[in-house]
């Protein structure tokens, strides 16, 4: 990669190091290797050849630090190491490890910069590289932003290769056989005479020599596991009820807790009466926690019942009380005072809009809950000199630090047992539920306590996707889109979420305009302006944050302009896009769907949308049919390019799952507020897509893009605008507000 000069680089780094952790480091620290955390806990004869591979006489452990929230990353991480180490990953213990600097996430930090992902120029790449270093130094270890594969694929393969070559070096030292004459196979080093020495037998000798770090990665053509259909390592457990999730922890002597928090987030309490709750069967105590109260009881059911029996005098929070007032706050924020960014400003939009007929449209996207099927839960055991936490989290280092702050123990005495999550969609990038669980357990040292949120608590106290609106203005002429101006307005997600978890980075909130400013269209006059409305209730990252709303606005308005210009939606997009990866996915989705325009016959319609999010270009085509039971989505075609695909079976699941997530919420879901409280508190009023609404999917991953990217989110964003476009083609009605069920009926 090209770099700018040393001086500029260092000064930029020092100037930017506060972005994630509040610390500035010199270049010296940047180039110093990160210490290997596994070296500390090793016994005699055990080897930790890299921070990711531990070998003892008893067995081999891979550290797979990225959290599995359903996206299959545990399996992928193991497979990446195993490909180079030549071992069946099913024979290896997989351990998420403890929070550590060695497991930092540099990709997410880099993605939050004000450069579009498809812009691979010298300045963006240099700054991305530096941001990755800052993330390492500040130990920002988190799972999110579809970043795991992008961030770790080389690191983990190098870890496997380093371990393999070091094991060979150990055999070479033992036998005198030249390193080059040794090979590895199925957990063994194989000598020229076919003698096999197991890796575990070599642990002591490998630990005694310098790791061989001068290794080259195997080319794709030599892969035996990666890139081929393989069985996810957790698939048997997840098909037989034997997978343990965070909520399933069972410890001897464990008690159970439920939380009752202020439905108005952050409002506080004037007072409460716990007498009725304390008199109920199986109840041990009532304790105060962040945002409200908790009941400790003999089982979850008793705790749930008693939490309902608490009489609490809640104080109102300081955000607007109703959805109507919140929308008004957004409308009012479209002024220079709230202008936060203008990261795209090509040509002369003002001039272009001044001398033509202006097409204008307003779009809205509601608050949405994450509502992972597994409600939030954490089990905590506080002891005199140790705190243990069992939970499913995407931010283990933040969880550890919270335990340190709340209990005063040394960080080295906190153990985070990171467990599988029954979904997340971004919710486990917050740790409020763990904080409460620590507060609860701290009242009964020595007793493990599992805190489980009811579904109603989970939905009432989500950090929702923020409401978001946009106004588009544009002009067309000669069958082309000539000017495009989009104002995107929302409370700042970066201030809210980063403010809770890290610190608020300086500069514009790029997430507020993700999916809009960063799209690879070359419209001659093209402008995207972000407005940060005043903060409301705390908000959070929701699958494809920013873009899940902006892509709907951006693509829908583009679609309106293309229609007004009388152009073909696919051809006009291709005409406007120069980026080769993006063009290829559009061409591919056109071929897959036999594209010949939006008209596919009476009572039917075809829509298209494109989005470049998380570094992945995705194009989706959707067919719908009007039926007497409502609109039916028939088929969805998805073409995407995330570079090399390591786990093809799972990659397909992520594409379809993300599209279903995008479609189901766009059709059916919203959170509305009355008296500061969420009105939808369970799946009877918030359910996403169900089986009977699910269309048939056709997917293609092109694997032509140079950079490797993740797929957990990218197919989410274009789903809603593609559906709206299809409904327009079928009915002539533009859907400018989600959920679409406000305007039309679906089957």
């Amino acid at each position: 990669m090209e770099r700018v000069g040393t001086i500029a680089r260092r000064s930029f780094l020092i100037g930017s190091a506060s972005i994630l952790g509040g610390v500035a480091f010199g270049a010296y620290f940047v180039t110093r290797p990160t210490p290997n955390p596994l070296l500390e806990g090793l016994a005699e004869g055990e080897a930790a050849l890299t921070p990711f591979v531990k070998i003892t006489p008893q067995g081999i452990t891979f550290i797979v630090p990225r959290a599995d929230v359903g996206q299959g990353i545990t399996s992928t991480q193991a497979m990446l190491i195993a490909e180079e180490l030549d071992i069946d990953p099913a024979t290896v213990t997989l351990d998420p490890g403890q929070p550590n600097q060695a497991y930092f996430n540099g990709t997410v930090a880099a993605e939050s910069l004000p450069f579009p992902a498809w812009d691979q120029g010298i300045v963006p790449n240099t700054v991305r590289d530096l941001m990755g270093q800052v993330a390492r130094l500040t130990s920002s270890q988190f799972t999110g932003g579809s970043s795991s594969v992008a961030d770790l694929h080389e690191t983990l393969r190098f870890a496997g290769a380093t371990a393999r070559e070091t094991l060979k070096a150990a055999v070479s030292a033992r036998t005198g056989i030249a390193h080059a004459d040794l090979r590895t196979e199925d957990g063994h080093v194989v000598l020229p005479d076919m003698t096999r020495i197991s890796y575990t037998e070599l642990s002591a000798e490998a630990a005694a020599i310098e790791p061989v770090t001068d290794v080259t990665l195997r080319p794709v053509s030599e892969w035996t596991r990666l890139g081929k259909p393989y069985q996810r390592l957790d698939i048997v457990a997840k098909s037989t009820g034997t997978q343990d999730f965070g909520i399933d922890v069972v410890l001897p002597g464990m008690l159970h807790a439920a939380v009752r928090a202020n439905p108005g987030r952050g409002g506080g309490m004037a007072g409460y009466n716990a007498d009725a709750a304390l008199a109920m069967q199986g109840v041990r105590s009532v304790v105060e926690v962040n945002e409200g109260l908790a009941v400790i009881a003999e089982n979850t059911w008793f705790a749930f019942q008693a939490a309902q029996a608490l009489e609490v005098d809640w104080l109102p929070p300081d955000y607007p009380a109703s959805s109507a007032e919140m929308w008004q706050a957004l409308v009012d924020a479209r002024t220079d005072d709230f202008r936060n960014s203008r990261l795209r400003d090509d040509g002369d939009v003002e001039a272009a809009l001044a001398d033509a007929t202006v097409i204008e449209a307003e779009y809205r996207s509601p608050f949405l809950a994450h509502a992972a099927l597994e409600p939030l839960s954490a089990t905590v055991l506080v002891e005199a000199d140790r705190v243990q936490i069992w939970t499913a989290t995407q931010i283990p280092a933040v969880v550890r630090d919270a335990a340190v702050k709340l209990t005063g123990v040394d960080p080295s005495l906190v153990t985070v047992h990171a467990l599988s999550a029954g979904g997340s969609f971004g919710r486990r990038l917050d740790h409020d539920y763990v904080v409460q669980a620590i507060q609860i357990a701290a009242t009964m040292p020595g007793t493990p306590i599992k805190t489980t949120w009811s579904r109603e608590e989970d939905m009432t106290h989500d950090f929702p996707r923020p409401l978001h609106m946009a106004v588009g203005r544009g002009t067309v002429g000669n069958g082309r889109v000539l000017a495009y101006d989009l104002d995107s307005i929302s409370p700042s997600l970066v201030s809210s979420w980063f403010g809770r978890i890290f610190i608020v980075p300086p500069g514009p909130d790029t997430m507020l305009v993700w999916g809009a400013f960063d799209q690879p269209y070359a419209i001659p006059n093209y402008r995207v302006t972000g407005y940060a409305a005043p903060p409301m209730m705390p908000i959070g990252s929701w699958r494809s944050p920013g873009a899940c709303s902006n892509s709907f606005f951006h693509e829908s308005f583009l679609s309106e302009l293309i229609h007004a210009a009388g152009a073909d939606p696919l051809e006009e997009r291709l005409r406007l896009i120069a980026d080769a990866d993006s063009r290829r996915v559009l061409e591919a989705v056109g071929e897959m769907s036999n594209w010949s325009g939006a008209d596919i016959g009476p009572g039917r319609g075809r829509g298209i949308a494109f989005a470049h999010t998380h570094g992945v270009p995705v194009a989706e085509v959707i067919d719908v049919t009007m039926t007497d039971r409502g609109i039916r989505i028939d088929e969805v075609w998805i073409a995407a390019d995330c570079g090399t695909v390591f786990d093809p079976v799972n990659a397909e699941a992520q594409l379809t799952g993300a599209a279903i997530f995008g479609l189901g919420h766009a059709m059916n879901c919203e959170l509305t507020y009355e008296n500061h409280a969420v009105q939808q508190t369970n799946f009877n009023s918030f359910e996403g897509m169900r089986l009977h609404q699910t269309p048939r999917f056709h997917t293609q991953l092109l694997q032509r893009a140079e950079r490797v990217r993740g797929l957990g989110e990218p197919a989410t964003a274009p789903a809603a605008p593609a559906l709206a476009d299809a409904v327009f083609a079928a009915t002539g009605e533009r859907l400018r507000e989600m959920p679409f069920s406000r305007s039309v009926d679906f089957i």
Binding site: D68, G70, Q71, G72, Q231, D234, I235, V236, A237, K238, S239, T240, G241, T242, D244, F245, I247, D248, V250, H256, Q281, N299, T300, W301, F304, A371, A372, L373, E374, P375, S420, A421, G422, G423, S424, T452, S454, R455, V649, A653, Q654, T656, G657, A658, A659, I660, F661, G664, N682, F683, N684, E687, G688, M689, R690, L691, H692, T694, R696, F697
Partner: protein, 152 residues
Amino acid sequence: MNLKINGTKHVVDLPGDMPLLWVLRDGLNITSVKYGCGIAQCGACTVHIDGEAVRSCQVALADVWGEITTIEGLGTPDALHAIQAAWIDHQVAQCGYCQSGQILQAADLLARNPEPTDEDIDAAMSGNLCRCGTYPRIRAAVHAAASAIREM
């Protein structure tokens, strides 16, 4: 109270109005039965009572009318039920949290209807929410399991 679960007798000392879901999870540590909503909207808590799929969050302990089967009673990693084998073949699960309920619901469907159409599957399985969106593979796996069972 006596319960027969997966062929084994259990004695529980819990209130009669306690939902079977919590009796199984917290009283007997059978955590494969999942809590998702508590109000019959998600199907994560599905078990069989006398072979019929029911929402265990809606069945009070005192009302349990027959023998309970949880996913462990259907099959185990070493002795998979045909439906589980199909689920593995199609790699249905993402987070997996809903899948015990999905599989038990599918078992109920296939016991009544050995050759379901897509519409039959939709009708029988739409009460089982999957927030990860594994639906296309659920459909495919139900069809595959149906033909595997027919050929047995």
